[in-house]
Every structure is written in structure tokens, then in C-alpha cells.
């Protein structure tokens, strides 16, 4: 399935505000966050510097690698946060 990803801060500077990634489904209509992260890093080598430190948000909530991504979900890839 194809997933559109929102990007922020240094990732957005390097790759633009969004990017679309093709990810294998773990079951029909569903992929895992982990698979999406792998597909993203393969498609965008510029992001490799952050690797596993990239945080993933699904529907505006942090998600772990085992969590599902489904069509219609809002997905964002975030550099390590640095507020305050």
C-alpha cells in the first residue's frame, strides 16, 4: 500500500513537507509502523542519519513499530523533539 507521510523540522528541510512511500502490507489493508519506517529509510537515504531515532506519529499520537497503519491514517515522521 501507498502511505503519505508528513515531515517536520530537519526532515522537512531535507525531504520536503510530505513524501509518499510504498510499503508491503502485513495483512490486507494494513502495514506496520516498523515496515513503513524501513520503507521510508530505503526510499530516503538522507534520513539515515536519524535512523531509529525518527519518531512516528499515527493520527497525532506516538506509535511503536508494531502498531498498524491503515489507509486514511494521518502519518508523520518526526525528528527527535527539542522543545522548551
Amino acid at each position: 500500500m501507498r502511505v503519505e507521510i508528513l515531515l517536520f523540522a530537519s526532515l522537512r528541510d531535507e525531504l520536503g513537507g510530505t513524501c509518499a512511500v510504498e510499503v508491503p502490507e502485513s495483512r490486507p489493508g494494513e502495514a506496520t509502523v516498523g515496515a513503513l519506517r524501513e520503507a521510508f529509510l530505503a526510499a530516503c537515504p538522507a534520513a539515515a542519519r536519524l535512523g531509529k531515532r525518527i519518531l512516528v506519529a499515527v493520527n497525532e499520537r506516538f506509535a511503536g513499530d508494531a502498531d498498524p497503519v491503515r489507509p486514511g491514517d494521518t502519518v508523520a515522521f518526526l525528528p527527535p523533539v527539542a522543545g522548551g
Binding site: 531515532r53 519518531l55 497525532e60 506516538f62 508523520a76 527527535p80 523533539v81 527539542a82 522543545g83 522548551g84
Partner: protein
């Protein structure tokens, strides 16, 4: 008022907002832009947020801390945009009957914000700008 905002933050307002007549101890944390980082001169910090998620994450922190510190009323705000040295980036106000709880909740509030809220900052200095990486070794000077 939005918890993540482009408007200047006046810390005193949030102290008053947090206080109830049964409270005796109020604690405030204010994070401001400072003029240096790792020995580099800093002229401004530019804060960016994943705004809708940052709002929700601030709300979720408030909910979590209300469970951990039931006697405390907490008010938290994060500013975004370009801030000059001395401008307020983040405010955590905690009001409680007793000071111990106010201190503990205030400290927990800023730690949670720094750990969980999707906000980033770009440091501007004489040589241009760089995104701040919280894990970058910053020997003596971590951010606020």
C-alpha cells in the same frame, strides 16, 4: 487559549490562572532563549511544532499529571515562531495547597514537555542556522 501559540507568553498570567483560593504554594518554570549554546553565540531560536499533535500531547501530559498529582492545578504553554534572546519559549505553572506537590508537578511538567511534545528549534547565530539535536553531545550547555 491554545497551549501552543505564536503569541508572546506572560508567565504571570498563568500563575494567576493556576491559583485557587485553597492553594498556598505556586511554582513556575519559565524556559527562555539564551545567548549561547556550546560556546556558540545565539541570536534567536526559531520554534516549530507539529501543531495539532503538539496541542494534543500537551493535553495528554496535563491529564497524566492530574492523575499523578491530584492536588495540583497545572497550566502549560509553549510558544512557537522566532524568539529573541530573553523571550519566553515555555511556561509551566503549578498551584497546590502545599509547595512540595507544586514543585514536583512543575518539574514533571517541563520534563514531559521536553520528552514528548513535537516541537523543534532552529538555532540562529552569526554563522547561520542549525536544528538543535537533543542527543547531540552538548558537553556543558543543554537547552534551558
Amino acid at each position: 487559549m491554545a497551549r501552543v501559540t505564536r503569541s508572546p507568553l506572560d508567565p504571570a498570567v498563568f500563575l494567576s490562572e493556576a491559583r485557587r483560593d485553597g492553594d498556598g504554594g505556586l511554582t513556575l518554570f519559565v524556559g527562555v532563549v539564551r545567548d549561547n549554546a556550546d560556546g556558540r553565540k545565539v541570536e534567536a531560536m526559531e520554534y516549530e511544532a507539529y501543531e495539532p499533535m503538539a496541542e494534543k500531547e500537551m493535553e495528554r501530559i496535563e491529564t497524566d499529571l492530574a492523575t499523578r498529582f491530584p492536588a495540583v492545578r497545572l497550566v502549560m504553554r509553549h510558544r512557537i515562531g522566532r524568539l529573541a534572546v530573553g523571550e519566553v519559549a515555555v511556561v509551566v505553572a503549578a498551584s497546590a495547597p502545599h509547595r512540595e506537590e507544586a514543585f514536583a508537578a512543575c518539574r514533571a511538567g517541563i520534563e514531559e514537555i521536553k520528552a514528548r511534545v513535537p516541537v523543534w528549534k532552529r538555532e540562529w547565530g552569526p554563522d547561520g542556522s542549525v536544528w538543535v539535536d537533543p542527543l547531540q553531545p552538548r558537553p556543558k550547555h543543554e537547552s534551558c
